[in-house]
């Protein structure tokens, strides 16, 4: 009989009834006898005091090392805080680097995104109108920097008009007594807008004129409304720099006139 067969038979007898003395189990009898003796050996038991002492050691280690959920929570919180800090610092750094970018440059969308974020976070009407005026001044600087008489991005001209109108709308929501200074700033801004746009328009080819003319017209309408409001407040805005029709006003070469830090 092979060892595998013997092992199977032994296991069968150990888990089943005692075989008596069948022929095939003869040489397994000493092992069965030994197994019976092993089963009667008194089991060594862990003393209750040793069991308790061991448990205390385990609990002390558990308390001392803080392997519990609280420590894990702290680890997660730290990791999250570090990540957020890195994200904030990285974003702030990128936004700072993008501040001087111009339309068409890689960082320009970041600059505009950062502006939109600041606008969304600014809810007080006085601060919001001041911010919108600063943004409109930025757009004017960008027009002066990137536009030539032949080529000026249409969306940049549209943004110039939109942000100026938004600023005007926000000024109207201010209390009457707080409107004067922002209105003066708006008149000044639109005056400079018209100077830049007229200079471009004078040398613009036919294909480039419609966009510039629309922008100029929007600026003039905005300025007119602002002037009327100022007059109602008994104010006379900048008599030395009146609004003028296309081609009729003082000449200004496009270029950054104002570098706001809103």
């Amino acid at each position: 009989m092979g060892i595998k067969k013997k092992a199977e038979l032994l296991a069968e007898y150990l888990e089943g009834p005692w075989p008596g003395r069948p022929e095939e189990a003869t040489d397994l009898l000493p092992l069965l006898e030994l197994a019976r003796r092993l089963e009667t050996v008194r089991r060594p038991e862990l003393r209750p005091e040793a069991l308790a002492a061991g448990l205390i050691r385990v609990q002390e280690r558990l308390a001392g090392r803080g392997v519990g959920p609280r420590r894990r929570l702290w680890r997660v919180a730290w990791a999250l805080a570090s990540f957020l800090l890195a994200l904030i610092l990285g974003t702030a750094g990128l936004a700072l680097a993008a501040e001087g970018s111009l339309p068409g440059e890689v960082l320009y969308p970041i600059k505009r995104g950062s502006e939109q974020l600041r606008l969304a976070l600014t809810t007080a009407p006085d601060l919001r109108s001041a911010l919108l005026l600063s943004l409109a001044e930025r757009r004017l600087d960008e027009v002066a920097a990137v536009c030539s008489p032949a080529v000026c991005p249409g969306d940049l001209l549209a943004d110039l008009g939109n942000q100026t109108e938004e600023a005007a709308g926000e000024i109207e929501r201010l209390p009457e007594e707080e409107q004067v200074e922002p209105l003066k700033r708006l008149v000044d801004l639109t005056t400079r807008q018209q100077e830049v746009l007229r200079t471009l328009l004078e040398r613009a080819p036919e294909t480039a004129r419609p966009g510039l003319e629309r922008a100029l017209e929007r600026s003039r309408q905005g300025q007119e409304r602002a002037r009327q409001k100022l007059e109602r407040h008994g104010q006379k805005p900048h008599p030395d720099r009146p609004s003028a029709p296309p081609g009729g006003g003082p000449k200004h070469t496009p270029g950054p006139k104002h570098s706001p830090s809103p």
């Binding site: 862990l46 040793a50 448990l55 558990l62 392997v67």
Partner: protein, 185 residues
């Protein structure tokens, strides 16, 4: 207790639940102690090492993954590694440890059993670690072949052959052994 119950306790322990860790300790420390006692031959050392096994387990618990094997199998693996370290240290120190069963059995028990825990331990010391484990799990812990197979991560057929060889070796050793040999560290 079902395997699912054990699995729930283990899951809680992995998450650092102190109550679950204490429950696992109370449930398995006695079995770990007996295993260590037969590997080391010294009750005091086995007691000390039992708590060390659980401290090691506590360190490793956050990385423990249930893969269908009993939690006790994992504890036996840690205990096996600890006892091997212990034997290595002892060999280096070359010192002889006195035999010291956990508590001496009464003369009546001795007479009835014809084989003491100390005699068994001394004979077991000459078996391979796998043979020792199969003898302890089958005849000291009283587990079935299928349970031993799951704990040791082997097939039932392999366990039966291991058991046969272990009993053969043990029978020869007990026949040859003289009384009163001291267990070496």
């Amino acid at each position: 207790m079902t395997e699912e119950d054990e699995s729930r306790w283990v899951e809680r322990a992995v998450r650092g639940d102190a109550e679950a860790i204490a429950w696992l300790y109370r449930r398995y420390a006695p079995a770990v102690f007996r295993y260590l006692y037969y590997r080391l031959g010294d009750a005091e050392v086995a007691e000390e090492m039992t708590s060390e096994v659980f401290l090691r387990a506590l360190e490793a618990l956050p990385r423990y993954r249930q893969r269908g094997r009993p939690f006790l199998a994992w504890l036996y693996r840690i205990a096996g590694a600890r006892s091997r370290d212990y034997h290595r240290r002892c060999r280096r120190q070359d010192r002889v440890m006195p035999e010291r069963p956990s508590s001496p059995p009464s003369p009546e028990e001795e007479a009835e059993a014809h084989l003491t825990a100390g005699e068994l331990q001394r004979a077991l010391a000459h078996l391979t670690p796998l043979q020792q484990q199969v003898i302890v799990l089958r005849f000291v812990e009283g587990l079935a072949h299928s349970q031993v197979a799951r704990i040791m991560g082997r097939s039932e057929g392999a366990i039966r052959i291991l058991q046969y060889r272990a009993l053969e070796a043990l029978r020869r050793l007990l026949a040859e052994a003289g009384p009163g040999e001291e267990a070496e560290c």
